[in-house]
């Protein structure tokens, strides 16, 4: 009887040690997250979004061409309602424009998208028109 209760106490102690070990590991991870946030809060807040667009590739789809692009935000703040436009010459001599709207791009992040341009596009330029603060 005494042996049984001693065994039970031993199991409880062992379980408690494991629980404490998992708890301490969790505490370390949470403290690391807080530390990271405090560090970023002290060094990388404020400022403005810094958006740049890169043409990834152009693909043909029958009578239209698809222009795939990526927009990177190298700033320290997120940008919302980002408008990406392409100005292009379809051979008529007049510059045309098409735009697409991206919901948001977080600081340090990249978003991709696409624009449909006519097949006979002679030249084009892709750029970010503007953004709003989230």
């Amino acid at each position: 009887m005494r042996e049984k209760s001693e065994r039970a106490t031993g199991a409880e102690k062992q379980a408690e040690q494991v629980e404490w070990a998992i708890g301490i590991v969790s505490a370390i991870v949470i403290i690391a997250i807080v530390g990271f946030l405090v560090h970023r809060g002290a060094t990388a807040t404020g400022g403005a979004p810094n958006l740049s667009v890169t043409t990834e590739r152009a693909a043909d789809f029958g009578e239209t061409g698809q222009l795939l692009f990526s927009v990177r935000n190298d700033g320290t703040r997120a940008a919302a309602n980002v408008i990406v436009s392409a100005a292009f010459d379809d051979g008529s001599g007049e510059m045309q424009r098409r735009s697409v709207h991206l919901d948001h791009i977080s600081a340090g992040s990249t978003k991709t998208g696409g624009l449909y341009l006519p097949q006979d596009t002679v030249e084009f330029e892709v750029f970010v028109e503007g953004y709003a603060d989230p």
Binding site: A11, E12, Q14, A15, E16, V18, E19, W20, I22, G23, I24, V25, S26, A27, V29, I30, I33, V34, F36, L37, V38, R40, G41, A44, T45, A78, A80, D103, H104, S106, A107, G108, S109, T110, K111, T112, P134
Partner: protein, 318 residues
């Protein structure tokens, strides 16, 4: 009239039919009737259990069935990630069936069977409701329809298993059974069980809100300082829910254990689970694609707030 005379009057001996004597019982039913009833009772319990499972699936998944971001995810979500969500959900359902399934089970095979039934109920519930809402229908690709149904079946199947414990009326008996079986479990198993329930609660609540754009929007509006405050608030609410404000089912603080012990062993670990589950759900829904490390951490902390509440509530309710 004495009790013996009353008993004699109530028991009526019927004429012999062949060699078998049929004796009526006190409530007037025959042995044959009793036998039939005994045969019907498990079947009836099964039907009632399945009915409750459908009820649970509907009640617990309705907010998600009516969320358009979740419909969109049905066809936008990467199929590998959707498969991963299902793969993670199935063992979770088995564990849930073990602890609070829609009927009493005796071995793991029965738990696996019940988990499969729960998932099937989730699929059926999602199919019916999405069809009635015209979210799925003719003209849509097979891939889109399947994606929408499978995604919605995940919370619905969890709801199906929660149906018994939350909608059933045998809570008292079940609690008693749990109390009886508790004596045969080990402290480590109890702890793992508690963590398991917290994980289920965290997954369920995070599935509710993770598909919405608001998670990322909130994270973008916040500064890192806000995120630290939200993390602290999540821990505070999580611990307070269970230990401080005395909800039904909450654990009363004991004098022999300092508060820090419960905080480290349960609240911190539970919050860690909420963080990991939030991260997994956000990744599954493609919410972290192309995101840098800081926004990833911030969005995870935002989602971990409801997930932590879900984890704490699961400890109290389930």
């Amino acid at each position: 009239m004495s009790f013996a005379e009353l008993e004699a009057a109530l028991i009526v001996t019927r004429p012999l039919m062949g060699t078998q004597a049929i004796v009526s019982t006190r409530n007037g039913s025959t042995k044959d009737d009793q036998h039939d009833e005994e045969k019907r009772a498990p079947l009836r319990a099964k039907v009632v259990g399945i009915g409750r499972a459908f009820g649970g699936a509907l009640i617990f998944s309705l907010p998600m069935l009516m969320t358009m971001e979740l419909w969109w995810l049905g066809f936008m979500l990467d199929r590998f990630r959707l498969a991963m969500l299902v793969v993670v959900t199935l063992p979770l359902l088995v564990g849930l069936a073990r602890r609070i399934g829609f009927e009493d089970t005796w071995d793991w095979q029965e738990d696996v069977r019940d988990a499969c039934v729960a998932f099937a109920i989730g699929l059926l519930t999602a199919t019916v409701v999405l069809s009635v809402f015209k979210v799925i229908g003719p003209g849509m690709s097979f891939d889109e329809v399947i994606g929408k149904i499978v995604l919605q079946a995940i919370p619905a199947s969890i709801g199906a298993l929660l149906g018994r414990s939350q909608l059933g009326n045998e809570g008292g008996e079940a609690d008693k059974e749990n109390a009886e079986t508790a004596s045969s479990t080990t402290p480590m198993r109890d702890y793992c069980g508690e963590m398991f329930l917290m994980a289920v609660g965290a997954l369920f609540l995070s599935l509710n809100v993770a598909p919405t754009d608001e998670m990322q929007m909130i994270a973008q509006m916040m500064t890192p300082t806000h995120a630290v405050l939200l993390l602290a608030l999540s821990l505070l609410v999580m611990h307070g829910f269970v230990y401080a404000v005395g909800f039904k089912g909450s654990a009363l603080p004991t004098n022999d254990e300092p508060w820090i012990s419960d905080f480290v062993r349960f609240t911190l670990v539970g919050y860690m689970l909420a963080i990991l589950i939030s991260l997994f759900v956000l990744w599954s829904f493609g919410r972290l694609d192309g995101e840098a490390f800081l926004p990833t951490v911030m969005t995870t902390i935002v989602l971990a707030f409801p997930a932590a509440l879900g984890a704490a509530a699961a400890r109290l309710i389930l």
